[in-house]
Symmetry: C2
Subunit: 238 residues, 2 copies
């Protein structure tokens, strides 16, 4: 059974790294019996520094953390992993390296086998069918936009409501997602900062304080409060 | 000689379509002797409606406008065009169709032959070496990120200064461009709304009210006021 913890943002304004989702993280990995978590740091440029940050946070929560960039064969490491944490940064850079290191199939297979997967921001985008709902700048070419496809929906992390007092003419986030649905069918979860999705047992439960905004092709957007199961609207991993 | 008019945004808050750049548009096409401008509407979903909007604006300025989506062979039309206007919308959708219609080489060849090119927003992104500095959501796969390469620099349209009062944790525009320079060398012009670049005779002149912010790899960003030639910082088309 697929177990996912998909978090909008790794750091909440005024708080420390992973602090706002700490209880959920502990429960996510502990309930699956994972003691060592494999970290995928490719979304940022400085991999050593990023792994040190993640390692500190995970060790304080009682887990070992190893980073796939520290081993010769990341795909082999992933094939035996007890759990995964894919950190945020630039989604295109992340996907490019994940593809180059042949991690797509390796992570998919282990997560299908029960290893818990956690993503923040770009790492949550990576769990979706494609990265087509990322907010990031396409600074490198990943080769294709297909991602891990662990969930049947798309996530838009750091979801932002349209500003009411702005004269800026760039597209709002909602307009961008409407453009996505001019070209695609997959439902999109607009996951506001502080929000996260807990997927397992056929459910997709919204956690964290904010409501989420659900976008489906040809339908009006829907607001769903924290604590609800979104599976009737957007599906759930099997 | 390559003649470009690269505009940040097609509509300024409170104004009409192309109103804020009207004088520049007229001068750009008239000085090159263009009477009919070919429009590339692929960045939006509703091509007929988009072409009608653009046609209205260009006819009021004294030009004929034809849209490449209204002919059987867009590349053949482009090969004879007196000038081009590529409108804004979603950059990925634009690039995908431009590639599919074999317009990259056709437009490049005509612009190299002296036909004036104008872009707004996504259409300005398209004039750059790649689309790697777009703000848009990657709603479709263009196949590759290489674009028209009419200018030697990248543009970030709708450039936004970091908000001073925000608790939002998503990357600022400046952070995104810094990430671009972790992976790429090409200078980036942060083109604020209302700003435009007029390229020709070896110059890249900033027009419109706002200053532009110039980003170069390994250097601090530089503010340049309207009226300046940016060629010493970012180069110019030949």
């Amino acid at each position: 059974m697929t177990k996912l913890l998909l978090v909008s943002n790794s750091t909440q304004h005024g708080g420390g790294y992973l602090e706002h989702c700490r209880e959920r993280v502990v429960e996510h990995f502990r309930s699956a019996g994972a003691r060592t978590v494999w970290f995928v740091p490719y979304a940022l440029h400085d991999l050593d520094r990023y792994a040190a940050t993640a390692r500190g946070a995970f060790e304080r929560m009682g887990f070992q953390l190893r980073s796939v960039h520290e081993v010769d064969d990341p795909a082999a490491a992933a094939a035996d992993a007890e759990g995964f944490f894919v950190g945020g940064g630039n989604t295109f850079r992340l996907l490019k390296r994940v593809r180059e290191e042949r991690l797509i199939e390796a992570i998919r297979a282990r997560v299908a086998g029960g290893a818990p997967y956690m993503g923040t921001s770009a790492g949550s985008n990576l769990a979706c069918p494609t990265v087509r709902t990322t907010n990031d700048m396409p600074i490198v070419e990943p080769g294709a936009f297909a991602a891990l496809d662990l969930a049947p929906f798309q996530i838009n992390p750091h979801y932002l409501d349209p500003p009411t007092d702005s004269s800026h003419m760039g597209e709002t986030r909602e307009q961008r997602i409407r453009e996505f649905h001019e070209e695609n069918e997959t439902p999109v979860v607009g996951l506001r900062e502080g929000g996260m999705l807990v997927c397992g047992s056929g459910r997709t439960v919204l956690a964290g304080p904010p409501a989420a905004r659900i976008f489906r092709r040809g339908k009006d957007p829907v607001e769903v409060p924290s604590g609800e199961d979104l599976a009737p609207l957007v599906g759930a991993p099997t």
